[in-house]
Subunit: 143 residues, 2 copies
Amino acid sequence: MHSVQEQFRAYLAKHKLKVTRQRKTILDAFLSSPSHLSAEELYIRLRKKHPNIGYATVYRTMKLLAESGIAAERHFGDRQTRYEANTGEEHHYHLICEQCARIVEFEDTQIDLLLQKAASAHNYTLSHRRLEIYGQCPACQKK
Amino acid sequence: MHSVQEQFRAYLAKHKLKVTRQRKTILDAFLSSPSHLSAEELYIRLRKKHPNIGYATVYRTMKLLAESGIAAERHFGDRQTRYEANTGEEHHYHLICEQCARIVEFEDTQIDLLLQKAASAHNYTLSHRRLEIYGQCPACQKK
DNA sequence: GTAGTTGCAAATCATTTGCAGTAAT
DNA sequence: ATTACTGCAAATGATTTGCAACTAC
């Protein structure tokens, strides 16, 4: 099988782009970080071990990861773009606590089906979807 | 019954804010414009008839409209915040064409129900939700 | 060697804010 | 009279870009 690293290599090769030390470093950091980090947060994490890495390089590389399908861009309420690892063709939905920002990911094939139906009903094709449910997580309800 | 204008007046009064010419003008422009305009687009429309209106005033007023529940903020793929008129307690979902950006709004009580269930299943309360389906509209599929 | 890449700093884009003058209460 | 509001320009925060030095191919 192909690892994510190989997938990235293949993407770069196809587009005549180069495999650089920075790109490998950023990919590894991305894969070993919690999900939904912003480029800035990733940059801060990276700086510890790689103090000479550039802010712009992180941005540029995250963009490449998104284009190659390895990462997916997310926009939650705030202004920053966040990234999450793209687990193949499956998609999942988000349940977000308005109080503490805790995010739960879940899948739901019934919802999948209804969304597909909704698109068809309006004669749209479906390429992807975004679903976020905002509320209070169990912990915050107790407060 | 109370018109939207009255609703805005009431909100302003409750917060000891003033009913100004600009605020009335912006509210009217917002109500008589297509949905999903950004503050900038609204500003451009307004400028035709009210050349002396300030950019910042439009931003500040849209924020007020959002706080008062008259408008709802939306974030689609791009960087700008867009606004749509808030039609009471109902909510609706968006079907967005990736090619021409045409947006169809729809409601679906089955989806409503499943989202409520999904939140409950994780012991979350539900306050609001965001659902966008991206694909190609009928017209763009033919190209 | 050549073409793509990096890091920096400066630029950009959407949005926000400080402030002096103006208008609503 | 008081207190909030406006318009402008300058400030902010996230992201992008130009460019000269550098590195993968």
